[in-house]
C-alpha cells in the first residue's frame, strides 16, 4: 500500500539537498515557510487537527458511548432528537460515537506503527551508514530484498500467527514499514560521518554508539518528521484494510476499516453505516495527501 505519496522520491530529493547544503536547519525552515504559504496544505492541516481533536475529545461530549446499546433505536437513520446524529447500527449502537472511536483507533495505530518503523529504520540505517563497508552492503542488500517482497502478506501472516491484538497490529505494521526510513538515514549518516564534528568526537574517544546517538541522530530531525507525515496515511490504509478483512481491530473495539467492513454489506438498507466511516477515512486521506504534496513542493521548489 506504499506509494500513496511517493515518499521515497520526496525523501531522496530532500536528503540530497540536505547533503549538499551545509546548513541543514535553514533548509528545513525554508521548506516549512513554503509549506505555510501553501493554502491547500494549510487548510488540510487545520482539518486534520480538527479531526484528531474531535476523535479524542468528542466521545465525552456525546450522549451515547461507542458500546452502549439503545434498545429503542436499533437500525435507525440519523435522529437529532435522540442524539443519534449519524444513526445507529444493527445492535442499536450510536454510529457517530463508533466512528469517533474508530477514528481514534486508526490514529493510534498509525502513530504507534509509525513510531516503531521510525525507530527501527533510524537504528538500522544509522548502523549501516556508520559502519559502512561490508556491513553496510549486506544490510542494504537485505533492505533491497525486503522492498521486492509483498509486505502485506507478511503482515497478515504475523497477525494470524500471533493473534489479533491491536498491539501486534501496531508492531507488525511498523516492523515492515521501516525500509524507506533506513535508506534515508543511511544516506544521511554516510554524509554526516565526513563532517568535522564527528571527527572531533572520534578524536575525543567517543565510541560508535555514542557518536550515532549523540551526534548523528539529532541531525536527522527533518527527514524523520517528513517521513512520519508521509507514512501515517499509508498505515491508516493498511490498518483499515486488515480490519476490513477481519484481521485487525476486534469487537467491541472498532476502527474505520472494521466499521466499513460492517457497513458495506448493509449499505443498501442502512447507508449511514457505510458512508459515515468512509467519509471520515477519505477526508483524512485527502488531507494527508495534500499535506504530503505540500511538503514535496516545499522541499523541491524547482518542480513547479
Amino acid at each position: 500500500m506504499a506509494g500513496l505519496t511517493g515518499k521515497d522520491a520526496v525523501l531522496s530529493a530532500y536528503a540530497e539537498a540536505l547533503a549538499n547544503a551545509p546548513k541543514g536547519r535553514s533548509l528545513t525552515q525554508d521548506a516549512l515557510r513554503r509549506l505555510v504559504n501553501n493554502k491547500a496544505a494549510l487548510v488540510s492541516i487545520f482539518i486534520l487537527v480538527a479531526i484528531v481533536l474531535f476523535a479524542l475529545v468528542g466521545p465525552y461530549l456525546l450522549p451515547w458511548s461507542f458500546d452502549k446499546i439503545d434498545w429503542a433505536g436499533i437500525r435507525k437513520p440519523p435522529d437529532w432528537e435522540k442524539g443519534h446524529y449519524f444513526g445507529t447500527d444493527q445492535n442499536g449502537r450510536d454510529m457517530l460515537a463508533r466512528t469517533l472511536q474508530g477514528t481514534q483507533m486508526s490514529l493510534i495505530v498509525a502513530a504507534v506503527a509509525t513510531a516503531v518503523s521510525v525507530v527501527i529504520g533510524v537504528v538500522y540505517g544509522a548502523i549501516a551508514g556508520y559502519f559502512g563497508g561490508r556491513v553496510d552492503a549486506l544490510m542494504m542488500r537485505f533492505v533491497d530484498i525486503m522492498y521486492a517482497l509483498p509486505y502485506i502478506l507478511f503482515v497478515i501472516i504475523l497477525v494470524v500467527i500471533f493473534g489479533r491484538s491491536p498491539v501486534l497490529l501496531f508492531v507488525g505494521i511498523g516492523f515492515l514499514e521501516w525500509l524507506t526510513m533506513a535508506r534515508i538515514v543511511r544516506g544521511q549518516t554516510l554524509t554526516l560521518k565526513q563532517r568535522e564534528f564527528i571527527e572531533a568526537a572520534k578524536a575525543g574517544g567517543a565510541g560508535p554508539f555514542t557518536i550515532i546517538f549523540r551526534h548523528i541522530l539529532p541531525n536527522l530531525t527533518g527527514p524523520v518528521v517528513i517521513y512520519a507525515t508521509l507514512t501515517i496515511p499509508e498505515i491508516i490504509v493498511t490498518e483499515s484494510f486488515l480490519s476490513y478483512l477481519g484481521l485487525g481491530v476486534q469487537e467491541p473495539q472498532t476502527s474505520l476499516g472494521t466499521l466499513i467492513s460492517f457497513g458495506a454489506p448493509v449499505a443498501e438498507a442502512l447507508p449511514w453505516m457505510l458512508y459515515t466511516p468512509a467519509f471520515i477515512l477519505v477526508l483524512m486521506l485527502v488531507c494527508l495527501s495534500y499535506v504530503g504534496d505540500g511538503l514535496r513542493d516545499a522541499l523541491d521548489p524547482k518542480d513547479r
Binding site: M1, A2, G3, L4, G6, I145, Y147, A148, L149, P150, I152, L153, I156, I157, V160, I161, F162, V237, S240, F241, Y244, L245, G246, L247, I260, A264, A267, E268, L274, A278, L281, V282, L285, V286, S289
Partner: protein, 307 residues
C-alpha cells in the same frame, strides 16, 4: 546483455530460498495450529494427523522434505480443505489471479502512460489540471472502499454490472474487478510519466533534437519516450507487487476464485500449508516479474549494464 540477465537470475535464487525458509519456520514454530479446534482431539487422532501432514519428524527434516517437494511442484496437502492438495488449489486459483492481474496491469499501464504523456505535453493547461485531479481520486480512496462503492453504485443502484462472483466466460463479472484493480496502478503510472516526461522535455538533449529540426513527433517518439520511460519502468516492479496485493482486496470484495482469496481464507483458518504455498507463489511471481523489469530497464538505460 545476456550475461547481465543471467547474473540477475542467479542472484534471485537465494532470495526465493531464504523467503521459503523464513516463512516455513515462522509458521511451524508459531503457537497454535489448524488442529486446535473448539474440542481437543483424541491423542491418537492427533498423532495420525501429524504423521499425515509430515509434522512428526524433526523440523530440519520437515524443511528438507518440503523444499524437495516444492522443487517437484508439490506443496503438500491443505490442512483445512482436507481433500485438496495445495498444488491443486493453486492450479485452480493462479490462472485466474494472473489473468486479473495482467489485465489490470495492461489497462492501467497503458492508460497511465497515455494520460501522463498528454498531461506533460499540455503542461499547465486544462488537460493537465484535469488529469492531476482525476489521478488523485484512486490514490486517496483505498482500494477496498473503492471496490465497495463501485459495487453499490454500478451493481446495486444502477444494476449495470454483477455485484460479484465468477464462472468461466462471465466477462461482465470481471469488468469492475479489473478496472478497480487497475485504477491506483494507472494513477501512479500517470503521475510518474507526467513528471519524467516534463523533465525530459526540458533536458539539453531534447533541446539539441529541436535544434536539429526533427519535428515534434520524431522528438517524442525517438528522443523523449525512451529516457522518460526509465523511472516508469523502474516503478513497474514495485507496481506489480501492489497489483498482486491489490488482487487480495479485489478477490475478497468481489468473491472471486483467485489465490488471493485462498490466501486470506487460509490465513483466517490457520491453514498453514496453504498460506505457505500461496506466499511462496506470490514471492516467486513478484521476483520473476521484477527480474523482467530489471532486464527491460537495462535495455532502456545503456549505462546500467556496465555497473
Amino acid at each position: 546483455m545476456l550475461g547481465y540477465a543471467l547474473r540477475r537470475v542467479l542472484s534471485a535464487i537465494p532470495i526465493v530460498f531464504i523467503t521459503i525458509a523464513v516463512c516455513f519456520f515462522i509458521l511451524r514454530l508459531a503457537p497454535g495450529g489448524p488442529f486446535d479446534g473448539e474440542r481437543a482431539l483424541p491423542p491418537d487422532v492427533l498423532r495420525n494427523l501429524r504423521e499425515y501432514y509430515n509434522l512428526d519428524k524433526p523440523l530440519p527434516l520437515q524443511f528438507v522434505d518440503y523444499i524437495l517437494g516444492v522443487l517437484r511442484g508439490d506443496f503438500g496437502p491443505s490442512m483445512v480443505m482436507r481433500d485438496f492438495s495445495v498444488a491443486r488449489l493453486i492450479s485452480i486459483g493462479l490462472p485466474f489471479t494472473l489473468m486479473l492481474g495482467f489485465a489490470a496491469f495492461a489497462i492501467g499501464t497503458a492508460a497511465g502512460l497515455i494520460a501522463g504523456a498528454l498531461a506533460a505535453f499540455y503542461q499547465n493547461k486544462w488537460p493537465d489540471y484535469l488529469l492531476v485531479f482525476v489521478v488523485l481520486i484512486p490514490l486517496v480512496i483505498p482500494n477496498f472502499l473503492m471496490a465497495n462503492l463501485a459495487q453499490l453504485v454500478f451493481g446495486v443502484y444502477l444494476r449495470w454490472l454483477p455485484v460479484g462472483g465468477y464462472q468461466p466466460g462471465a466477462i461482465l463479472n470481471l469488468v469492475m474487478p479489473v478496472l478497480i484493480l487497475s485504477m491506483p496502478h494507472g494513477a501512479r503510472v500517470a503521475r510518474l510519466t507526467r513528471g519524467s516526461m516534463i523533465e525530459v522535455l526540458g533536458t539539453n538533449y531534447v533541446r539539441t533534437a529541436r535544434s536539429k529540426g526533427l519535428g515534434t513527433r520524431l522528438i517524442l517518439a525517438r528522443h523523449a519516450i525512451k529516457p522518460a520511460l526509465i523511472p516508469v519502468v523502474s516503478y513497474l516492479g514495485p507496481g506489480l507487487s501492489y497489483l498482486l496485493t491489490g488482487s487480495l482486496v479485489v478477490e475478497q470484495v468481489f468473491a472471486l476464485p483467485g489465490i488471493g482469496k485462498y490466501f486470506i481464507t487460509a490465513a483466517l483458518n490457520r491453514d498453514y500449508g496453504l498460506v505457505l504455498g500461496t506466499t511462496i507463489l506470490y514471492v516467486f511471481i513478484i521476483l520473476a516479474l521484477n527480474l523482467l523489469v530489471d532486464i527491460v530497464y537495462a535495455w532502456l538505460d545503456p549505462k546500467v549494464r556496465y555497473r
